[in-house]
């Protein structure tokens, strides 16, 4: 059985944009945590572009506007393509506890996320970005 979920959050439920070119990245240490992207502009036209985030395996989603972008542009950042490079044997507690489960990757939990984006204004420029925790309000760089 396949459950179809509308990823657009309730607070943005009247949006009529063409949310095309979707992309998903799953935290390999905790598959309940998923990041996704599409051609979805920031609903408030702010300086950041949003990614979709779920913490319950995709049952519900929120938009987190924290990807650098161009303020006021209709499609300021496009083709956001994400990957979560965490390792399956990380313990995902993100602390430096010396636990062998971390496999010498303490602090390198699966919530670290990379993204390739096309960024405007001006000509489209490819940027590769990283955030240490896509669930938090950490900015990308």
């Amino acid at each position: 059985m396949i459950q179809v979920v509308n990823m657009v959050p309730k607070s943005n439920s009247d949006e009529v944009f063409q949310d095309s070119e979707p992309h998903l990245a799953v935290n390999p240490t905790n598959p309940q945590q998923i990041a996704a992207s599409a051609f979805t502009p920031d609903p408030l036209r702010g300086p950041n572009a949003p990614i979709y985030v779920s913490t319950n395996g995709g049952l519900t989603w929120r938009l987190n506007s924290n990807v650098p972008s161009g303020a006021g542009q209709f499609f300021p950042t496009g083709d956001i393509t994400t990957t979560a490079p965490g390792r399956r044997n990380d313990d995902d507690n993100g602390n430096d506890d010396g636990n062998d489960d971390d496999n010498d990757n303490d602090g390198d939990n699966g919530r670290r996320l990379y993204a390739g984006i096309l960024r405007t204004p001006g000509s489209l420029l490819f940027n590769a970005l990283r955030t240490p925790d896509f669930l938090s309000r950490e900015r990308w760089w």
Partner: protein, 251 residues
Amino acid sequence: MATSPQVDDLSRQSTFTFVGTVMELNAATMAEEVPVTQNTAVVHVDQVLQAPPMLANRDGTDITVLLRDAEQVQEGQQATFFTTGWIYGEDIAVQEVGHVEGRVDDERAAELAALSPGTPENRTHRLQQRLADADVVVLGMVSEIKFPEGYDTHGPVSEHAPLLRQTTIQIETVYKGDLPADQDMVQAIFFESQDIRWHRTPILDVGQKGIFVLDRREIQELQREEYAVLDPLDYQPPEQRDLIETLLQGS
């Protein structure tokens, strides 16, 4: 009291501006979706000043604000908050660009309100401006769609190509424009592409009725000027007829 340059600078950086009262620090209205920290606060929206459509009706509600510096505000304090979007879930959380103490004066509040794209007044104003700028405004029906003369239909096509088409509009009423009295049709270019790049441009179908707001524009692919239906305001559904007639009479 905030200076005008300070307010100008903050309003340029923000997309949602409101007069609010800080209800609770270290709190959030969306506790499951927003990481509550010492910089998150629940703020009561006393009056929206500048907002996109999705936040235009937030007067009297509570909203989560990520403060720049929680030590700069106190519970019970009223301020004018300049914000951008942060998290959109069951509700919305915004992040503060800055704030000024109390409510901005009436003149400045009116200036901020004029920046809101979502209010009915401003949508009507934009349509009125579009009608005033147009060369031709007609009520009619799309009777034919075909490739424009001289359009290369065989070359390589990008996924983002606009896919030009030429429509023939049978004219029922000429509201504006110097068309000959015996002219009963007008032709215009539109884009048939459904690509995200052209998402906002109107796509027309044979039999479609409405009001067409036309300008002669240089069409790069054709290297000539044509009437065009490219802006979202260039096509208005028949239900807009009374409003458009009123706006044209007033211009």
